[in-house]
């Protein structure tokens, strides 16, 4: 099932670092499985891409105990990168999801710099549109956040991945840093083709009845509408400082939210937590963006990117 570009979607078509996207709306890793779980609700090929669940070299069981909790205008999770491993992904998942005709972007996570290279090389296969480097998972002890908070380590991960794949390499930035612009520049200099931001903000909830943390992993990643202003600000700051395209994400649940990210400087957006509330929300966001472009007499999304007027 491949999406036939509807006349209205002609305006939404875009191209980012060589990835042809029917719309500039993607789904964020960890919130959309492998896409197939949402096939009853979404025309997957209409999405700009599906950033699939974080994949590691070996299978991971993820964290024990409570993994999700709702917070004011948001939620926290501590899944801990549960996934079947890259071998199962390549042998079973990828052939199975090919039928949906979507851009499959594989989010990878390594415990060492070398592991990112190995994963990038293994995934340099037909059917994979791009690699997203997860250096900012707040829920795993090794790797993850360490690479995401040190510009030298993040740059090393980017270089290693670029060395081992011809696919576009996306680096996903963590907001849990002192200066996200420093991180962004280091990753651009190291050769990242695209930057995606932001990952979740590290948070914590304490149950006052048990006087214990709610989440099994004590802390978790905060997502949802409550983080949107932080994400818009960070996208705007990073867009000033780099030339590579940005995939903006963080709390997007409506087309209005998405437009803010484009104005701030994102070339595409990804929707995460909102998929849980409304499995069809991405399609509504596509329609809304298209209407907005028409109302503002714009022919393409590019004409909106970074156009926030300041002063």
């Amino acid at each position: 099932m491949s999406h036939v570009l509807q006349e209205k979607d002609q305006r939404l078509h875009t191209n980012i670092a060589g990835i042809s996207m029917n719309t500039p709306v993607l789904t964020a890793s960890g919130t959309f499985g492998f896409g197939e779980e949402f096939a009853d609700f979404v025309d997957l090929s209409r999405l700009g891409g599906v950033m699939v669940k974080g994949t590691t070299l070996k299978p991971r069981r993820g964290n024990d105990g409570v993994r999700i909790t709702e917070s004011p205008m948001g939620m926290m999770n501590c899944i801990g990168l549960e996934n079947p491993g890259v071998d199962v992904f390549l042998k079973e998942t990828l052939p199975r999801i090919e039928q949906y005709g979507m851009n499959t972007i594989v989010n990878i996570s390594g415990g060492t710099v070398e592991e990112y290279g190995i994963l990038a090389e293994m995934l340099d296969v037909p059917g994979v549109a791009a690699i997203e480097l997860n250096v900012s998972c707040p829920n795993v002890k090794e790797g993850g956040i360490v690479f995401g908070t040190d510009p030298k380590a993040a740059a090393a991960v980017v270089r290693e991945a670029k060395k081992h794949t011809k696919k576009p390499v996306i680096l996903k930035l963590s907001p849990n840093v002192t200066d996200i612009v420093t991180m962004a520049k280091a990753c651009e200099d190291a050769g990242a083709d695209i930057l995606s931001l932001i990952n979740t903000l590290m948070g914590m909830e304490i149950n006052i009845h048990t006087q214990r943390p709610t989440l099994g992993n004590i802390t978790g990643g905060l997502s949802g509408p409550c983080i949107k202003p932080v994400a818009v600000r960070m996208v705007w700051q990073v867009a000033q400082a780099v030339n590579v395209p940005i995939i903006g994400m963080g709390g997007i649940s409506s087309f209005e939210d998405a437009i803010e990210f484009f104005l701030a400087g994102a070339s595409a957006v990804a929707v995460g937590t909102a998929n849980f509330a409304d499995p069809n929300v991405t399609m509504k966001i596509c329609d809304g963006i298209d209407n907005y472009l028409a109302e503002h007499k714009l022919d393409s999304i590019e004409q909106l990117v970074g156009k926030v007027q300041i002063d």
């Binding site: 499985g33 779980e37 409570v66 993994r67 999700i68 709702e70 939620m75 849980f276 499995p279």
Partner: protein
């Protein structure tokens, strides 16, 4: 009848909201697309549309009427989501995502339903689906908590009750009476839903008597579609499974050692 989509997300009109007991409500909504697809043991994810909750709330299906196109839920008010749910009135709208997961085996010849507390809700649908072939063993703290008797009457052959305080039926738990029932009657399946500790006990006794047992698990959920992996559980063979997609109904031996 093969339906093109296994699950739907639809706005549903609230038909009625009725208080059944202290903090326990029955909500009936008009959702024909869900009613025609629903199987006993499945659940839905309800989205309250007034903005009070970001995430959906998983709720077991207590009844589905294909002719009327209605689906019923019985729930206890325990937090923010269920409080908001209990404030809905006839004519209000709620979004229903479902039906989700896998249900109980309806091919059994003589099943015994065992339920405790709100666990009696999804098995009420199973009782109806079995068209009078099942018996039910229900447990509660007091006689008042077993208001469920009225709901099961006419849907099952025999109703057995246990109460913690002995105010109705056998004094004790469902596990107190279960061995006697399994020894006396020719059940080919035990279907259990309730607190995990109860289901573990039920599963153990069923195993000892050589009767197959299915249990329905509950876990915090995000998407309900098998994507977010919030509701992972350990299986006895060392795997991880998802309550929302692989369950909520599992063979007891799959989840309890």
């Amino acid at each position: 009848m093969a339906l093109p989509k296994k699950k739907v997300a639809i706005d549903a009109k609230v038909i009625s909201q009725q208080a059944l007991y202290d903090h326990v409500f029955k909500l009936v909504v008009e959702a024909p697309e869900v009613a025609e697809r629903a199987e006993a043991g499945q659940f839905v994810q309800l989205r309250i549309l007034n903005g009070s909750c970001l995430l959906r709330r998983p709720v077991g299906i207590a009844a589905a009427d294909k002719d009327k196109g209605t689906v019923a839920f019985i729930y206890r008010v325990v937090g923010k989501g269920t409080t908001a749910l209990s404030q809905l009135k006839a004519g209000d709208t709620i979004n229903v995502l479902g039906p989700l997961g896998h249900g109980f085996d309806i091919k059994a010849k003589k099943p015994l339903i065992v339920g405790g507390g709100m666990g009696l809700s999804p098995v009420l649908f199973y009782a109806a689906a079995m068209e009078g072939k099942a018996d039910v063993l229900m447990g509660g703290k007091t006689a008042g908590e077993l208001f469920w008797q009225d709901l099961f009457t006419g849907k099952v052959q025999d109703i057995f009750c246990t109460t913690d305080d002995g105010s109705l039926g056998t004094k004790g738990f469902t596990t107190t009476l279960l061995p006697e029932l399994l020894a006396k009657k020719d059940y080919d399946l035990v279907v259990a839903c309730g607190p995990e500790i109860m289901m573990k006990g039920i599963a153990k006794i069923a195993k000892e008597h050589g009767v197959r047992c299915q249990v329905s698990l509950e876990k915090r959920m995000g998407c309900g579609l098998g994507a977010c992996l919030s509701c992972s559980i350990d299986t006895t063979d060392g795997q991880r499974k998802k309550v929302c997609k692989d369950g909520p109904v599992f063979e007891a031996g799959e989840v309890f050692a």
